[in-house]
């Protein structure tokens, strides 16, 4: 036998402890620099009188919060945020479930339908919001044109109203509905993809057993499928809620909070006060309101995920 001439050595690839640190570092740095530091800064700013014009840090205690609470627009934004989030979430879940059924179905040309379904989610939000801005334009809206052609809009005997335009983003109620609709349009594909994962995890046997047991489509849907995708649907709902809660792009592009703060939400209001208005301290105080709500949502997500694993 020939002697083994290379002595066995531990290489870097064998040292799992060191490797773990190397692999973890990028995400740890990322979270520290882009999440932890800004978060601490936000708390600091909220307790200071920092403005865009005077960046020197002076401690003011809870004065920023007092001023925020005195402002009726803040309360309006908070209320709008909840309305916006809850309605979007409900619609996203229901439509996501319907879309998920389409995504799992087997039919000719399904790849094309899948592509279409996922398109809104893959389009950058700024781009899609700007397209929607044109879709909902007060004069050139193609939706209004369709309504006019159908005789629902314009003219004395029109069903909706005699005006030639809906002014989607100009009427408070319609503006809110438009913002919600665009948001639902954008997030539904994500919810659908999450729920597809839940749907395909249900054993086929269960649906077949229910069919042999004599259950029709709706009974199978409501008594078998939906209860079983519920944990996954909850995850989709919470993801949707967080994305809705923290989103300001749609509001900012479509209405900029208007008309008359009818679509103002916490994020857009914080941006408006802190960045546009230059009162960094107050902007930070408003933005911090998102934190306890998001924390609760994150805890709920993690619990739902854990319940699924059991």
């Amino acid at each position: 036998m020939t002697p083994i001439d290379t002595a066995p050595r531990r290489r870097l690839a064998d040292r799992e402890g060191t490797l773990a640190w190397i692999f973890l570092m990028p995400s740890v740095i990322y979270i520290l620099v882009l999440v932890a530091v800004p978060f601490v800064l936000a708390i600091g700013f909220a307790l200071s009188d920092v403005t865009a014009g005077d960046p020197s840090f002076d401690w003011v205690g809870v004065r920023n919060f007092e001023r925020v609470f005195e402002d009726p627009v803040f309360w309006r934004s908070l209320g709008n945020t909840f309305v916006f989030t809850l309605i979007s979430m409900a619609l996203i879940i229901v439509l996501g479930k319907v879309l998920a059924n389409i995504l799992v179905a087997d039919f000719r040309g399904k790849w094309f339908v899948r592509f279409l379904v996922l398109l809104p989610w893959t389009t950058p939000v700024a781009l899609s919001s700007i397209s929607w801005l044109w879709m909902l334009d007060s004069i050139f809206s193609p939706i209004d044109w369709v309504l006019r052609q159908l005789g629902l809009l314009g003219g004395a005997d029109a069903l909706i109203k005699p005006d030639t335009n809906m002014y989607w983003l100009g009427e408070p109620g319609l503006a809110m509905a438009s913002v919600i609709a665009v948001h639902v349009w954008r997030l539904t594909p994500l919810a659908a993809v999450i729920m597809v994962a839940g749907l395909v995890a249900i054993p086929r046997d269960l649906d077949e057993a229910a069919r042999v047991d004599g259950a029709g489509y709706w009974r199978r849907m409501f008594e078998v499928t939906i209860p079983l995708v519920l944990p996954v649907a909850a995850v989709a709902a919470l993801f949707g809620a967080i994305f809705t809660f923290t989103d300001m792009a749609v509001v900012d592009v479509l209405t900029n909070g208007g008309p008359n703060n009818a679509t103002q939400v916490l994020t857009s209001w914080a941006f408006f006060r802190g960045i546009d208005g230059g009162d960094v301290g107050q902007g930070a105080a408003i933005a911090l309101f998102l934190f306890p709500l998001l924390l609760a949502a994150a805890v709920a997500i993690l619990r739902a995920v854990r319940r699924m694993e059991v």
Binding site: P203, D205, L206, E208, A209, A210, R211, V212, D213, G214, A215, G216, R219, E223, V224, P227, L228
Partner: protein, 354 residues
């Protein structure tokens, strides 16, 4: 009257695979019919077509004399127990058993009565509030059976209901299944690849291979009078020995190949067995060797019961024999049964008797 009848049933899957290739089958009232075959023989597909979960490519399914092809499962009055049991994990045992009754919109008190009746029949009254994940394998099977029986269907379809249980539980569950069916008396079609289950449970066994029924008959007949070499070798453990001789195959079961002194029948066919290995299996001895003298030398197995204590030594050539009436003959080319052929002088008497 035929409870379930299938006529010229064909199922062709995408890609041209014929899972079921022209099967005709009739079950009798109250019968326990077992569909037995290796995996991929089409037995489950056949069952699913009876249930209505799969639509046949051609052919008809009749239940209780009515043509049901094209009808959905719920219009067919069948109940099915799945291999996985397919219990609804989010419903209690009570909810699971009562589900088929809710599906037919039975009033609540009647539903409650029937659910409890089905549960008591299977001795699971005490489990009604549990969820399926809190049950053992055997208990799950009973819940699945209770759910199947609660509607009092025309026919039970069971798809390998024992394969999820461990070996020990399987024996007692098999016994329970049989007692249960005798008590209820409902026609049952049972799919399995396990010949022990098939032999133990079936009033009749239909042996399937490659989408066709190779033989159908009571367990004894399928075992003793196999219609072809597939049935002969699929049923029996170890399988039937087949020895080529001219243009036939001479078949005999391992338990009929015995030391010459033990075979007292006057039509005994003498042969030599070059023994190369002896296995002791719970009292029985399995003797492996090459048989000489009735055809081409062929590897065979002999199963000697514990009551035979003649010495058998590996490496020696010993005198064995098979009673002539135990021999079966198959055509080499088709594998089908053929009339017996003369093997030797000692079998002549038997030959003339036929």
């Amino acid at each position: 009257m035929a409870v379930v009848e299938v006529r010229k049933l064909v199922k062709e899957f995408v890609g041209g695979v014929r899972a079921v290739d022209g099967i005709d089958l009739v079950t009798e009232e109250g019968e326990y019919l077992v569909l037995l075959g290796p995996s991929g023989c089409g037995k489950t597909t056949l069952l699913r077509m009876v249930a209505g979960l799969e639509q046949p490519t051609s052919g008809d399914v009749l239940i209780d004399g009515h043509l049901v092809s094209g009808l959905p499962p719920r219009a067919r009055q069948v109940a099915m127990v799945f291999q996985s049991y397919a219990l609804y994990p989010h419903k209690s045992v009570y909810g699971n058993i009562g589900f088929p009754l809710r599906a037919v919109r039975m009033p609540k008190d009647e539903r409650d009565r029937r659910t409890r009746w089905a549960a008591s029949l299977l001795d699971i009254d005490h489990l009604l509030d549990r969820k399926p994940r809190q049950l053992s394998g055997g208990e799950r099977q009973r819940v699945a059976l209770a759910r199947a029986l609660v509607r009092q269907p025309k026919v039970f379809l069971l798809d390998e209901p024992l394969s999820n249980l461990d070996a020990k539980l399987r024996t007692s569950a098999r016994d329970e299944l049989k007692r249960f069916q005798e008590e209820i008396g409902t026609t049952t079609i049972y799919v399995t690849h396990d010949q022990v289950e098939a032999m133990g449970l079936g009033d009749r066994i239909a042996v399937l291979a490659q989408g066709e029924v190779r033989q159908i008959g009571p367990p004894v007949e399928v075992y003793d009078e196999p219609a072809d070499t597939f049935v002969a070798t699929f049923i029996g453990s170890p399988p039937m020995n087949l020895v080529p001789r001219d243009d036939v195959l001479v078949g005999f079961r391992p338990e009929h190949l015995l030391p010459a002194d033990v075979v007292t029948a006057d039509d005994a066919v003498a042969l030599k067995l070059a023994v190369d290995r002896v296995e002791y299996l719970s009292g029985d001895r399995h003797v492996y060797g090459t048989v000489l003298g009735i055809g081409e030398p062929t590897r065979v197995v002999a199963r000697l019961p514990a009551t035979v204590d003649a010495p058998v030594v590996a490496g020696e050539e010993q005198a064995f024999a098979v009673a002539g009436r135990r021999l079966r003959f198959f055509a080499t080319d088709t594998g089908r049964r053929t009339p017996r052929v003369r093997l030797g002088a000692r079998e002549q008497a038997d030959q003339e008797a036929l």
